[in-house]
Every structure is written in structure tokens, then in C-alpha cells.
Symmetry: C2
Amino acid sequence: MSILAVGSVAFDSIATAYGRVEDVLGGSATYFALAASYFADVRLVAVVGEDFGAEQEKVFKTRGVDIRGIERAQGKTFRWGGQYHDNNLNEAKTDFTELNVFERFQPRIPEQYLDSEFLFLGNIHPSLQAAVRLELDNVRLTGGDTMNYWINRTREELLETLKVMNVLLINDTEAKMLANETSLPRAARKVLAMGPQALVIKHGEYGATIFFREGAFGIGSHPFRAPALPIEEVKDPTGAGDAFAGGFMGYIASQGQLNREVLKRALFYGGVMGSFAVERFGTERLQSLKRAEIDGRFQVFRELTHLE
Amino acid sequence: MSILAVGSVAFDSIATAYGRVEDVLGGSATYFALAASYFADVRLVAVVGEDFGAEQEKVFKTRGVDIRGIERAQGKTFRWGGQYHDNNLNEAKTDFTELNVFERFQPRIPEQYLDSEFLFLGNIHPSLQAAVRLELDNVRLTGGDTMNYWINRTREELLETLKVMNVLLINDTEAKMLANETSLPRAARKVLAMGPQALVIKHGEYGATIFFREGAFGIGSHPFRAPALPIEEVKDPTGAGDAFAGGFMGYIASQGQLNREVLKRALFYGGVMGSFAVERFGTERLQSLKRAEIDGRFQVFRELTHLE
């Protein structure tokens, strides 16, 4: 099955307690696509500048990611710089954000992508997210992300977009902000009433919980929780949430059917891909995994929470 | 099997978004004892004042808790007042602390308690914790708690006490403070090097993780994580951690053998008892549970994380 992913491709400059890197390939769609590529065919819609070249293309092509939907625009690629402090690996301190060509991003979907059955709407303006969804006729499941910026500044548009998302993947802070609610389970219920059939709340080092709307997927409404691996050396947390989304959506796309068990396992695979992402700077670890490593770690996650 | 528990018995005044109560029975040993009483015989060592009467005694006696070790001293019982704000249910804002008779607490162990096989050292001065442990010859497993106050002010004494604890149960903040380390898995490794064979880190609404010292209990060193229930209405978080410890230690004491599977299930039962504790103010919910309710919720916890 094919997943179409739309979002940002960027050059990141990152500093953590373990070192620093400059202008490495990043962006939410990049992390998503690389993580999902181990499970399904991935098609990317994004925009880059003239500084995006063969070296970056090769990263995607090596993983079989279809980049015919990456538009080359005049100017420079989106650049982001940030640092993580040891006492808060869940949140980056942003040094700079240069939107560059991303500022005027208008997703254009190549004709060859129009039969995509799975769609991931990365963290872009909610109206652009909705427009992409409306162009596709064969989509069976739409996952999406958003962030504080859109929740606060484009709330009305976001509420419209949530009506066409099947699964929203956000973190604790975003869920509470979106629902204007301090209790996470109550926030989840409110968000599900906005449209999505399922809500994945990513808890960082504590894992993730999926909440289901009553009757969604015919699977009842009780939630499910997957762990995260206690990792001693988180080299670089950048992209962990996007890699999580890639593992989650990728696994779903690989299964062909949508039921509670598939979504539960998808939540585990999300955690697995997030745990790999943070082991090296940038996308390095996601570029050269083996499927056996992924399945091995899936078993580790299982043993982390399973009673006999 | 019998568990001897030493700690505080108190009168609490608590305010949350759901209401307020005054002078209700509380204290770490109280929550621990009530939670553990569903699994094993519990013997309590604590001190109360002249204001502790038949009404309070009845709460313990109804649950079969042996309170011959509760000493009556001249003066008033320990009193604590605090409030929880909806945006941080994990931490109380203390309104007042009146130590009263607890200030000069010197645990005295009744002769009938000396054959206790399981011991829980509640959150008191580490030197008192160690003294209790040294009086008992038949203990197979010692669990214990501590807090920021002791970590900061009586570090040397605490380090000595940790050498006689088999399992330390603390929260994320305490673990990081004790280890002077911001990464939780690294903090866990450092704390285990201080003495305990196992470290339970309680994550509040995200559950708990147990870390094992290499070779401890002959069960390898990989950690295990149990979830917490996403509860929409946390009426009163007071005592959740103590109820967790009670469920954890109680289940262990009920099993007779110490192996990885028992400790894993104990972690689940800890979460179960903590989840009941917060459903009502004070100890109300822990006073009148049925074992079938406990096992029912254990299954809910299991379904919350188990893949087929």
C-alpha cells in the first residue's frame, strides 16, 4: 500500500549534550517518510530550495521514497536551528527558524500519487492539509499532525480539517491546548468529538496512548497504551514524534485492514521508530535500519509491558 | 504472609477541583496499609495523638490491619493540609504541616510483629528506617520510600539505609535528585548502584517502571513498565503513591516467591490500587473494595497494554 505524506523538508542545525550538527537533512516529512519506508511505499509532497541536491535526494531514494512530489522552488530550503537541554529533552529551544521557500508552500500532488490509499498530513497550515485531503479520492485512512501555532492562530481552519482526519497524532500539551482541558482523558474525549475516530497522544519518554471514539472502527472505545524504551543516551530528540507517526502509519498501511489489533501494533511500531530516531543525530539512524532490527525492538517493547 | 509497614498516620485537609475535606484519615502508612490489606496481613507501626479514636481505629480493623503497633502519644496527631490544582495533579501545594506527635516518632515494634517476612519502610527519617530493618530477623524483602526532604538534608543517612532496602519506590523527580542525573534510565542505574536490587519509579498518570540491578533476583536487568489508567475524574490524588506501594508490596507478599513475573504483576497491582485511591477523597475508596473489583481492574490494565 502507498502512503502519501505532505509536510516539511528542512536543513536542521542541532545542539545537544552529545554534540552539534549543522545543516543536516531534517523536517517533519523527512523523518516521517524514512520511518514509514520500512513498512510501505511512501510518496512525498514537499518543497525545497536550490540548495537541495543529489546528496539529499539520495537519502530518500536509497529508502525507496518517491520524491516526484518534492517541488524545487527558487530560494533556500526551510532551515531550523535548535538545542536541547539535558533537563528537558521533550522540548527544543529554537535558535532560529528560516521558512524560506516553505513560507509559500502550496502542496501540488503529482498525478501518479492520486491513487494513494493512506495519507499523512504533516504539520502545515490546516487549510493546506484539508486541500490535500480533498484532492484524493482513494484514501482509506488519513492521519495528521498539528502544533500549538495552528491551534492558537488558525483554530477555525483546524477544526474544519479535523473533520477529515481519521487519526490525529499530537502530544500532551497540544491535546490539552486544543481541548482547553487539563485532564488528558477528558481532553481526548473532547478532541474526538471534533472529528477524528482516533487520537494518538504522544507522551515522549512515557510512550503514547491511543483513544478511540465510541464505535470507531467497530472496536469499542477503551484506550490502549504503548511504552517508550528507557534510552540512556538520547543523542538528538529531533524528529522522534515524526518518526513515531511514520512507524504508526507505515505499519497500518502494510496491513491492509483496519482493526483494533492493527492499531495497537501500529502504536508499538510508532514507539519503535521513535526510539531509533533519537539514537543518532538527525535522520542518520533512520537511513540504514534493517527490518530485523525493527522487529527485534518490537519484541523488546513487547517484553517491556507484557505479563506472561 | 505478613507485611510490617512503618510510616505516618495523619489527619488531612484536602482541596481539589471536586471539593474539600477536613481532618480525614490519611498518612502514608494508612494508604499503604489499606491498599496492601487486600493481598496480605498488614501490621502497622506508627504514632498518633489523643485525637485518634475509635472511628479511625475502625477503618483499620475493618480491613483486618493489625494496629497494635500504633503508639498513642500525648498531643495531637500529625496534620497536613494541601490543595491540588487542575493543571498539576501530580504535586500538592501544601497549606500547612503540623508534625505534632510525629515529630518525635521513634518506631517501636511489638514483639508479635518480629516474625514479619515483608517490610515497608514508609517515608520517615532514613536512620529510623534503618533501625526498624535491623530489628527484624525474618525479613525476605524490604521495600521503602523516601522524599526530596531526606534526599537533600540527610543524604549520608539515606545512602546507608539504601544498602538495606531491596526495592526503593520513588517518583521521577526524586530519582533524578537522588542520582543527580537528568536522564531517567541513567538515574536508575546510579540508584541501583547505591544498594537496592530493584528501583520502582512512579510516573503518576503515565504508570511506573521497575529497573533491576544486573543479576538481581536472578532475572536479568531489563526494565518493565506498567501503565496507569487514564482516569477522567481524579477526585483527590493524595496517597496514590502510597496506595501504589501497598498494592505492589501486598501482591509480592501474597505470592511467597520472588521472581520477575511476580514483580511485574506487582507493578500492575500497584497501578491498580493507585487508580482506585484517586477516585474518591482520602482513603474512602480503599476502605471498601472487593477483591473482584481489584482483579477486574487488573484485567483492564492488562488490556490497556497487551497485544494479542
